[in-house]
């Protein structure tokens, strides 16, 4: 295991309700870099993320954290790993019975012996960072979706994590706020040397923030490289993906017709893999 890799994934398969959603994924996430995992919605990005934060145990294939197999972590090992990470979920996942500042205080109250006043100042610092300092005592239900997401980011940063996982940071945000979030991610890497993993389908923001890009399609790894490498890639599917060409159009027509007309219409290989999976 090379020491400059924070996380390494090898030969990871994943099933969800008897359907295979990840096929033999393998790549490495370098230290103190921004890695963007890209792909259309439903391509397995979020599932991959759940493997990386240990919410889904890997069946075949391994996930290594600094050379240690995550599958061999006991409860304590997993807790230690999770104290080093921060996760921003797609919906923000704020606890809706607590105010914004209480939300941020949750990990601090559980893991540290800091005084209430220190915790309050820390929450304020984090909220200021994401531009929500005025909303300290709001309930999550009083915030807009974008604000909730930013508050979720503040909570993910509460424990000064070494590794930050972000699921779809810009979905549901207005363009200006989304750009602000991208800048913040870059600033975090720059100033604190955080290892950041971002899952997104927004090509523009991906290219802007990524040190390394991972392109996925239907549970398969298409390409790994710097944004420049990806852009200059010769691989057809990657190119199509980048050009957002209606690649699905033809294949989809086929599978669409087959679904409409029933069995007699022979579906293409792609579409069978997509719906068929493991029976």
């Amino acid at each position: 295991m090379s020491s400059h890799n924070m996380i390494e994934i090898r030969g990871l398969d994943s099933h969800y309700k008897g359907r295979q959603v990840l096929f033999n994924i393998g790549f490495a996430i370098p230290h103190k870099k921004v890695t963007v995992i890209m792909g259309r919605s439903g391509c397995g990005k979020t599932t991959l993320l759940r493997h990386l934060i240990g919410l889904k145990p890997s069946e075949s294939g391994r996930v290594f954290v600094e050379g240690q197999d995550m599958g061999s972590f006991d409860e304590k090992g997993m807790a230690n790993y999770r104290r080093r990470i921060g996760v921003l979920f797609q919906s923000g996942a704020l606890f809706n019975s607590l105010t914004v500042s209480q939300n941020i205080a949750v990990p601090l109250k559980v893991h540290t012996r800091l005084s209430d006043e220190t915790i309050r100042i820390m929450s304020l610092i984090k909220l200021h960072l994401v531009g929500l300092a005025d909303f300290l005592d709001y309930m999550p239900s009083q915030l807009s979706g974008g604000m909730r997401k930013r508050a979720g980011l503040a909570r993910a940063l509460a424990m000064d994590p070494e590794i930050l996982f972000v699921d779809e940071p810009s979905s549901g945000l207005d363009p200006i706020t989304a750009a602000g979030l991208d800048d913040l991610i870059l600033e975090l890497r720059e100033t604190l040397g955080m290892t950041i993993i971002v899952v997104t389908h927004e090509l523009e923001s991906a290219v802007k923030i990524a040190d390394q890009m991972v392109v996925m399609d239907r549970g398969n790894l298409l390409a790994v490289g710097t944004p420049d490498e990806i852009r200059s890639s010769q691989d057809e599917t990657v190119l199509r993906f980048l050009r957002r060409e209606a690649e699905e159009q033809q294949v989809n027509t086929e599978s669409y017709l087959s679904r409409l007309l029933g069995r007699q219409y022979k579906a293409g290989e792609n579409s069978t893999r997509r719906q068929g999976g493991v029976r």
């Binding site: 997993m78 807790a79 999770r82 979920f89 990990p107 559980v110």
Partner: protein
């Protein structure tokens, strides 16, 4: 035929897996008692939610149940000329049976369903995942306070229910139907013994555990069977939680009665 046998096997395996999961769930919740974070405030909130806010409902239920018992008891007992036994009839049936069961059922409907829905929503909104990712044990953080609060609140609510029910029976029997107040109270005090009160308390403890366990478990694993997590799964889980909790309260009531009697 083979298909049927296979189906049976699958059902049995599912059942065992589910029971195992329920057991593990309970174990983790119990284990959470001694673990950080401090549970003072969250337990207090839950006591307020389960206890204080159920006062009105329980009081109402108890008073009217007691009144009906007074009415029914009077007409039945007066046929044998033993109206004097009304006090002991009302007291015994409330303290041994109706108090614990009614309280548990009302609390299941009022607080258990809400708990299930609350946890279910936290599940579908990834809040439980978020807790896990902060290395906070959701069992200990979310559910243990509810269990402790349930164990505190339910016996007290049951006692409140008993007293108010007896009051209701007294009101009807003595004030309305003219049974002698002394006879009512004397029948009550002489026939109720500590064992009856003890049985009521034991029952309410068991019901508290069952109710919290089932309701939070159903919420925690909302949508697990279907594999998708949405509002429908939460509402389905809530319905199931209330039904299962109520049934197990009634079944365990029979079992406890037959053991303790």
């Amino acid at each position: 035929m083979i298909y049927l046998v296979r189906k049976l096997g699958a059902i049995a395996l599912d059942l065992i897996e589910g029971l195992g999961r329920m057991g593990m769930f309970f174990f983790r919740v119990i284990r959470g008692v001694g673990r950080p974070p401090g549970k003072y405030l969250s337990t207090l909130k839950q006591v307020q939610f389960i206890g204080t806010k159920s006062f009105f409902v329980i009081g109402f239920t108890a008073a009217f149940t007691g009144m009906v018992l007074g009415l029914q008891g009077y007409y039945t007992l007066s046929k044998f000329g033993s109206e004097g036994l009304l006090g002991s009839a009302v007291g015994l049936s409330l303290i041994r049976e109706l108090g614990p069961v009614l309280t548990a059922l009302m609390v299941t409907g009022r607080a258990g369903s809400a708990m299930c829905a609350e946890i279910g929503i936290m599940r579908i909104e990834e809040q439980i995942d978020a807790l896990e990712c902060m290395a906070v044990d959701p069992h200990s953080y979310l559910i243990t306070p509810k269990l402790i609060a349930g164990l505190i609140a339910l016996p007290l609510l049951t006692a409140f229910c008993d007293v108010l029910g007896i009051f209701g029976g007294y009101l009807i029997g003595v004030q309305l139907l003219g049974v002698s107040g002394g006879a009512f109270m004397d029948g009550l005090t002489s026939s109720v013994v500590w064992d009856d009160v003890y049985m009521g308390i034991v029952k309410s403890f068991c019901f508290a555990v069952l109710m919290i366990w089932i309701c939070t478990y159903k919420g925690y694993y909302a949508g697990l069977d279907e594999g998708n997590f949405g509002p429908e799964e939460v509402s389905w889980a809530t319905t199931q939680a209330v039904v299962y909790a109520s049934i197990s309260i009634l079944v365990s009531d029979y079992i406890i009665t037959s053991i303790l009697l």
